[in-house]
Amino acid sequence: MLKDMMPHFDLYQPDTLEAALDLAANLGEEGWLVGGGQDSWDWLKNRTKRTRAVIELSGIPALKGVRSDGEGMQIGALTTLTEIENDPQVRERFGLLAAAAGRVASPQIRNAGTLGGNISQDTRCWYYRAGVDCYRAGGNTCYADTPAGQNREHAIFNASRCVAVTPSDTAGALTALDASMVIARRGGERVVPAAKFFVDPAVNIRRMTVLDPGEILTAVRIPPNWADGEGRQVKFYFEKVADRAAWDFALLSIAAAFRMDGDKISEARVVLGAAACVPHRLRKVERALAGASRNSETADIVATLESAAARTLGFNQFKVPLMENLIRRAVRGA
């Protein structure tokens, strides 16, 4: 059972990215990176995961802040969700991300939690969090995908042995915005598109992202092609459905971006959160929307296009009609 008692570990608090990368390289799998700590401290306090050392990144200025070159935007991984929610540039140009950041958890958690942490956090499958020996934890079973498993929050798409879902509210928005993740390592850097940053269980069941030991997610880059404003005809829609008005992870969320040509949709991105282990693009819906009007009739036509592909579990069948309704609302604009 949960311990709620922080164990001993070595604590490193570098104040430069270079120092942090050196530590990450030297410590490898024994160096646990902490940003806002909203995921990490739970794991460590509960002693369900352990580490020899923690590399605490909050003292590195280079990892914080929103920078715009007038085209795209780069957001430091340690920028807090509250800062993103309230940043004028993000709100004006990438309101989809601001809206998603503003629906994460609670104000207190958004004040501490970071964008990098929100997209890198581990799944919230309650079995996995309880410390059982499931596939994701290195075992050989899934406790949730069983006849009597309590799997209300679990996946309806692309499960592969593990049926956990991404808990991130911002990941879907970033996927819809074609964002990329800047990943540094000692002596180098790689930029990974969102579509490849998040990892399906069929690819690797033990991790949620492509981040390797020794690497640090330093920033998120959002290209200009989905930027709102300045005459561009882009419409966004974000909605998160959860049990409570605050604090909860999504039962299902939708992040959508529509490039408009007059009253027609010329291109669309529609991404579900909490539907699969990674942000789940509804490509059939996206294709069907190209050239369609953004109205109720279109909404009803496309709402059920993905339903047949859903594979529900004992307690999450409701996600299918909820998905259909969220698609309708996104297309309708409410």
């Binding site: 059972m1 008692m5 509960n46 002693r47 498993g149 309590q150 605050a246 409701f318 969220l326 609302r329």
Partner: protein, 800 residues
């Protein structure tokens, strides 16, 4: 009668202390030489401990010692054990280990090797009654206070009679009662409902986990605990520690919430004392937030069937109720009995049968939670009452007024009566504030995917006891010390009820010192702070103590200035002769009391007071004028609290989410003693009710017994975003005749009326669909709207 203090707001000392941080809770205390202890808890829902190997743990730096099951004397089964070798739920304490630091204690704990033999288990009380299904305990499966601990299984034939969620299987009940001719009453009914129901368990979510610290000094055991109650738990806690109550020093000045779970003594309060005695060191046992979900407790869940027969005019003629109660692994509360009383009083059926079955399950210990049984019942009944109203085409407020209890309404099998009931007045007052008639026009209005629904709800809970003691003293300084042993749940009612004594003595509040929170402050025998009883019970004790002091003041004045006591009155901290004004200050009267001695300064005490009060009064004897008495005031029926609520919600039919636009709560709480306190109670009770009705539930995987709701984010108490956007409150403010100044309790039904009214509104938003299940969560609404079957099985409990 106009009051000087009653009905006026004041700032209790608690408020300042909590804001400034002056308030110290159990885990804030430190004592020289103190060690930290951590519990080793069962990872299995049911198991037998075959061996404990401490050899590796003992080598961890900082290890000090351990308390094992063999070191303690457990209460007789099925009471909650102190430590156990047959854990009955995940989290059941097996041993307590102490070290020089908390981290070291946890490190050592992880080195303890326990050899478990897993045993069969279940988390479904109804299913467990099948003859082929395992029981939660090896020594019996059914029992409760007032019900013999026994093995009582149903037959296969009993189960064959069940029909999924249409009809619950029903075998022999552990307890039952009937009044009136139930069959005849049903035969007269125009409309009969016969439905199964489920009410989930939910955690108490006490903000302060149940931490305790203890040490021994000069033969006394000093314990700092998290407790709603003070004097009342002393004998039971002393018993758990194995000492006479007089050897226990109990410190519980502040309590960060209990909601019933800390009303009585509980084993975790005793464990540090027992380990402290063994290792001869002070012991702090801090329970963490996560652990609270394992070692804390929860509301008792229900599975059941209710049949109701209504006359054409909406009058409830007959009720037939069967409640299966989930006890948890150990002895718990009697919600299943309260449910029956609750139905009988709120709806006044002409005839009623009740059957109850309290069943043990391999889930954490249960205890009373705000409105135990009564609130579950109104959550079940109120939507069904609306269903009947729709069927019979009767206004939903009107059907409540039609069936509602009168001033001295009877209840239960014995047809006892209540001392006062102003529920109809509460409903009418609330309807006026809410604008019921006008609001009904909005009911069902659509705005895109959203629909507006309005509803009315109600609830009941007993509101007081009698027979406890009051104690106060007037010092030569003129200050009046009111000694109260009721405890401190956080509602300030230790102070608000002390104002009864101050009112009798016509004191300024600044002249009053409240003595409480530490048994060394010489506290009287008082009831615990639970069951919405404080405002009634403690009003009576403080009243009789103040009346005793008043008599003594007058007698002392008469001795000094002549005449008889009847010639004297009090005011302005003086006792004086009516007409002339000749008299003395309270301070001088106190000095005179000390000179006179005897009964005046506490050297002679009433014979009928509790031994605890005798000791306390004796300890303060000679320090001033002592007012002390047992509450022997007459009782005209059982004290009862009622509450009514009105609500408007807007539900989004595409997401299953709703917003509470408006809430009106009205309390039948007798004379309003503390308006700000009442407002806080109505609002906080409502928020808690919203959670129970729409969000909170305990969840287990029935395949392995793993609990899923073990944190705030999983157990889902309401957040700031889930409260009503508009909140209005009121009190009926009509006095209870059995309470000296008319006050009575109110806390518990304020949850029930809010939960009920929300469930009714959800049903109304869905065109009258009744789920017969609490809580109603978003996915149930979505499945219903999509025409899909619900995920949970018929009468399935502890599931998502």
């Amino acid at each position: 009668m106009a009051h000087k203090l009653l009905g006026q707001d004041f700032i209790p000392h608690d408020v300042v202390a909590k804001v400034t941080g002056e308030a110290k809770f159990a885990e804030d205390f430190r004592v020289e030489g103190m060690v930290f202890a951590r519990l080793l808890s069962s990872p299995y829902p049911h198991a037998r401990v075959k061996g404990i190997d401490l050899s590796a743990a003992e080598k961890v730096p900082g290890y000090v010692g351990v308390l094992l099951p063999k070191d303690v004397k457990n209460p007789e089964a099925p009471e909650i054990p102190l430590l156990t070798e047959e854990p009955g739920y995940i989290g059941a304490p097996i041993l307590l280990l102490a070290a020089e630091s908390e981290t070291a204690a946890q490190d050592a704990l992880e080195k303890v090797r326990v050899d478990y033999e897993p045993l069969a288990f279940h988390v479904d009380p109804l299913a467990s009654l099948h003859p082929d299904r395992p029981d939660a305990r090896t020594d019996g499966n059914v029992g409760a206070t007032g019900v013999k601990f026994q093995t009582l299984k149903w037959t296969k034939a009993d189960f064959d009679k069940g029909d999924h969620d249409k009809r619950m299987p029903a075998g022999k009940a552990a307890q039952e009662w009937t009044y009136g001719d139930v069959d005849a009453a049903f035969a007269k009914a125009k409309y009969v409902l016969d439905e199964t129901f489920v009410h989930a368990s939910n955690s108490h979510h006490s903000m302060e986990p149940r931490t305790a610290m203890a040490y021994w000094q000069n033969g006394k055991c000093i314990v700092h605990v998290s407790s709603q109650s003070q004097s009342f738990i002393t004998p039971a806690l002393a018993g758990l520690i194995g000492i006479p109550p007089t050897d226990l020093v109990l410190i519980a000045e502040y309590c960060g919430g209990g909601f019933g779970s800390k009303g009585g003594a509980y084993p975790l309060q005793a464990l540090p004392a027992l380990l402290s005695k063994k290792i001869n060191r002070p012991v702090m046992m801090r329970i963490s937030r996560a652990e609270e979900y394992f070692h804390g407790s929860a509301r008792l869940g229900f599975q059941g069937q209710v049949k109701l027969g209504f006359a054409e005019d909406g009058k409830l003629l007959a009720a037939d109720l069967y409640v299966i109660q989930e006890n948890g692994a150990c002895q718990s509360f009697w919600d299943f009995r309260n449910a029956a009383d609750g139905l009988s009083i709120l709806y006044q059926p002409e005839a009623m049968r009740w059957r109850g079955m309290p069943v043990y399950a391999n889930s954490p210990i249960r205890s009373a939670q705000r409105g135990p049984g009564y609130n579950q019942m109104c959550h079940i009944m109120e939507p069904l009452l609306d269903k009947a109203a729709r069927e019979l085409k009767i206004d939903r407020l009107a059907i409540r007024l039609k069936n509602g209890p009168g001033l001295n309404a009877p209840f239960g099998a014995q047809r006892e009566t209540v001392s006062s009931c102003y529920l109809k007045e509460a409903l009418e007052k609330g309807a006026g504030i809410f604008g019921w008639e006008e609001r009904l026009k909005r009911n069902g209005q659509r705005n895109g995917s959203k629909v507006t629904a309005v509803a009315v709800g109600q609830a009941f809970h007993p509101a007081g006891f009698f027979g406890f003691d009051g104690l106060l003293r007037i010092l030569p300084t003129g200050k009046v010390h009111i000694h109260t042993g009721v405890g401190n749940l956080g509602t300030f009612s230790h102070s608000s009820t002390s104002r009864i004594a101050a009112e009798v003595l016509k004191l300024d509040w600044a002249d009053v010192v409240i003595e409480r929170g530490d048994s060394r402050r010489n506290l009287p025998w008082n009831i615990g702070q639970f069951g919405s009883n404080t405002n009634f019970t403690m009003a009576r004790t403080n009243y009789v103590a103040a009346m005793d002091a008043l008599s003594k003041l007058k007698e002392i004045a008469a001795k000094r200035f002549g005449g008889s006591a009847e010639n004297y009155d009090v005011d302005g901290r003086r006792v004086f002769r009516k007409g002339t004004g000749t008299g003395m200050t309270y301070g001088d009267a106190a000095k005179q009391a000390i000179i006179l001695g005897g009964k005046y300064d506490g050297h002679e005490l009433p014979m009928d007071i509790n031994p605890m009060t005798q000791l306390s009064a004796t300890a303060i004897a000679g320090t001033g004028l002592v007012g002390v008495a047992k509450d022997n005031l007459p009782m005209n029926g059982a004290a009862a609290a009622f509450a009514a609520a009105f609500i408007e919600i807007e539900m989004d039919l595409e997401t299953g989410r709703y917003v509470i636009q408006d809430y009106v709560g009205v309390a039948d709480c007798g004379t309003v003693i503390h308006p700000a306190g009442l407002e806080t109670q109505i609002k906080s009770g409502a928020v808690q009710g919203f959670g129970v009705a729409g969000l909170e539930r305990i969840v287990y995987d029935p395949q392995n017994g793993l609990p899923a709701s073990v944190g705030f984010y999983q157990a889902k108490p309401p957040t700031y975003g889930d409260v009503a956007r508009r909140f209005r409150v009121a009190g009926v403010d009509l006095p209870d005749p059995s309470s000296p100044l008319g006050t009575k309790g109110i806390g518990e039904p304020l949850l029930g009326c809010a939960g009920s009214v929300l469930l009714c509104a959800i049903s109304e938003a869905l065109g009258g669909h009744v789920f017969n299940r609490t809580p109603v969560v978003a996915d149930m609404i979505l499945n219903h709207l999509a025409g899909r079957p619900q995920a949970h099985g018929p009468l399935q409990v502890n599931c998502q």
